[in-house]
Amino acid sequence: MRRKSLARATTAILLAVACLAQVQAKPVKLTLWSGYPDLQGFYESVAKEFTAQNPDITVEVQTFALADLDKKLGMSIPSKTSADILELISLYSFPWATKYFSEVPANLKKGCLDVVNKTYLHDVMYGEKMMGLPFCFYSEVLYYNKDMLAEAGLKGPPDTIEQLVDYATKMTKRDADGNVVRSGISLRFAGNPSGTCEKFWAFGLMPFGGDILAESAKKPGKFHNGFDNEAGRKALGLYLDLIYKHKVTDFNIKQDSDAFAQGKAAMLEREQWVVGTLKTAAPGLNYGASALPKGTARNTFAITRNMFVPKAAKDQAAAWKFVSFFYSKPIMERMVRETGWLSTRADLDYKALLKESPQLLAGIDNPPDLKFIWQKRLTIENGIMTKMGEEITKLLRDQGLQGNEAKIREEIHKLGAIVDDMLKDSDLYAE
């Protein structure tokens, strides 16, 4: 009698265990989207390693050109057809984060908070909620060509804005017709307007304590433009003086990292990815990197790349498991070493990892007076920056504006009004 019931109980238990095992062994296929095709190889190898450790979860990696990814997000997130894991820069997450993404699970959140450099948490924290995991960052630094500095008799990179203007003037080279053949410093006034505005923000507004948007003191959560003031006027003035008064560059010559690589620019303000480009495009270039020069303040911005999991993802647990694996110390070390992207983990030995590319350390060894300025995370922000970029591009082509204080004041005021109108349109304006 007893044996029979024992046998039955055992069978029942065995069956239950078998069922559970079946459920747990169900294979899960996740997809991950990234806007960085040059990292496809790296992501795929991490995915493979992950599957080796978790055989029932596979991760398929899709990379797209960043601008294309933006289009895809717009179509797929509201219709719940996006990938399970989204690797996005913060800017692309702002419209979706609070409404469509799920919160980072508690244990992963704690694990992250234990090791992360808290500076880089800003963009994913919405109050107490962490809506994504920031695993990588890049910040704006100053690149300078050491040979050209030496040639001009200069000891080191400029530390203040005045020095920047001075050094740029000294390092500019022109040909017989007066065309610039080497820019003292590369300026951004063409291409994607939102990028142009971003550079105006970092290069022009930040040293003078300005910002694109400023939060209203009376009504927090609402904003107004942050540059219709002395800072904005000085910023525009700086650009105009550099172009028309000191003539450190012109509209014809190549700009940006391509120019720096080809020796057509002596200085450049850009993010860390330049180091990787220069390795392939100009392996022998003798250059260094330092923190942005200060004006009335030393500011810079950083962009974090984060892992998000949409609420519509089928298997949340599996998705976050991958994210957790991705953020682990060995994988992050590999990322730094192999790709040159900097991790947000504070516990990595960067000096050792970055031996081959010491210029990357400029993003790690931040001077004590350096402050990070962040974007306001509004859906309309990309739109505002695009609009501003278009207007700034037009203003910079107006030679008559240079030195004309009254006109500069007027144009900055007009631009401020445009931004305020856009805020009012989205019901986000307050003084």
Partner: protein
């Protein structure tokens, strides 16, 4: 045979069933694949439709009113018209020119025809990149060649005006072969008898062209021009790759479709973008109707 019935060629029932058999699936496909989405866009233009928040509330003609008060809309509009006029003009005339020249069957005409058609076959993104390199101020081959010939360099991409010129050059270059082939098909349909008659007559080549060829080519010319205008009013890819790229590239040129794109994917204002799309549709319709009207007047 079909006396008193004009151009009817077929008996009633067979004709009707054939027409239905063809048109019902075709028009159904158009309905689903084109008309319904376009209709949805039209409806959306009256709403506060945001890509992020969904359709939103009904706002009547507010999107249109705002659009017509927007400076960027006007500059996009003017740029689009400029682009269309110049690109159509050059690409049609050059297409016809090459078609006529090659119709005379000079030596190697097959080779020339193939070469001229190659740009048509290339896809836009790499083509725009190549042109951007070729038009670069310092290291672009075009300026290098100009300097070698003793001519001054041209700043192809630095100003909005020159940027537009460069986009027009690339667009014309890309489409000449396409127009040429269509004109070729039309030219070859003109029987030799016409040319032989004029040769006996003693008329000059140019007279033959003007009096015989051009009129006979009218339906084809109309077709080529209408298609060119429609396609040019919708220009986007070249403008996007050459002037809205991340680094380098030309000074930004706004055209209607790039403005629509910016409204959709940068400002997320789908309602506004849809309104602009409908305005573009009206413009295209108007210009097409105008061309058909002009063509009929010539008769």
């Amino acid at each position: 045979m079909n006396s008193g019935r004009g151009k009817r060629l077929f008996a009633d029932r067979e004709e009707a069933s054939f027409i239905l058999a063809v048109l019902v699936p075709t028009m159904a496909a158009f309905l689903v694949i084109r008309l319904a989405p376009i209709a949805e866009t039209f409806v959306g233009s009256f709403f506060n439709w945001s890509l992020v928040d969904g359709f939103g509330r009904f706002v009547g003609v507010r999107n249109y009113v705002r659009l017509f008060a927007d400076k960027t809309f006007y500059s996009s509009f003017v740029n689009t018209i400029n682009f269309t006029v110049f690109t159509t003009l050059f690409s049609v005339v050059l297409g016809l020119l090459f078609a006529c020249l090659l119709n005379r069957k000079p030596r190697f005409s097959t080779l020339y025809e193939t070469i001229i058609f190659v740009p048509v076959v290339l896809t836009f993104v790499p083509v725009c990149l190549v042109w951007m390199w070729l038009l670069d101020w310092e290291s672009g081959f075009v300026n290098v060649a100009l300097r070698a010939l003793g001519l001054p360099r041209v700043s192809w991409l630095a100003t909005p005006t020159m940027s537009m010129v460069s986009v027009i050059i690339v667009s014309v270059w890309k489409v000449i072969g396409y127009n040429m082939i269509i004109f070729s098909v039309g030219l070859k349909a003109i029987p030799r008898e016409y040319y032989e008659a004029s040769a006996i007559d003693g008329s000059s080549r140019w007279t033959v062209f003007r009096r015989v060829t051009l009129p006979l080519l009218k339906p084809i010319t109309l077709f080529v021009t209408v298609m060119a205008v429609i396609n040019n009013l919708k220009v986007f890819t070249q403008v996007y790759v050459m002037t809205m790229g991340k680094q380098g590239g030309g000074a930004q040129v706004d055209v209607l479709v790039s403005d629509i794109y910016t409204r959709s994917f940068v400002y997320y204002r789908m309602g506004s973008a849809s309104a602009e799309a409908m305005v573009l549709l009206v413009v295209v319709l108007a210009m097409t109707a105008l061309q058909f009207r002009l063509a009929r007047e010539d008769e």
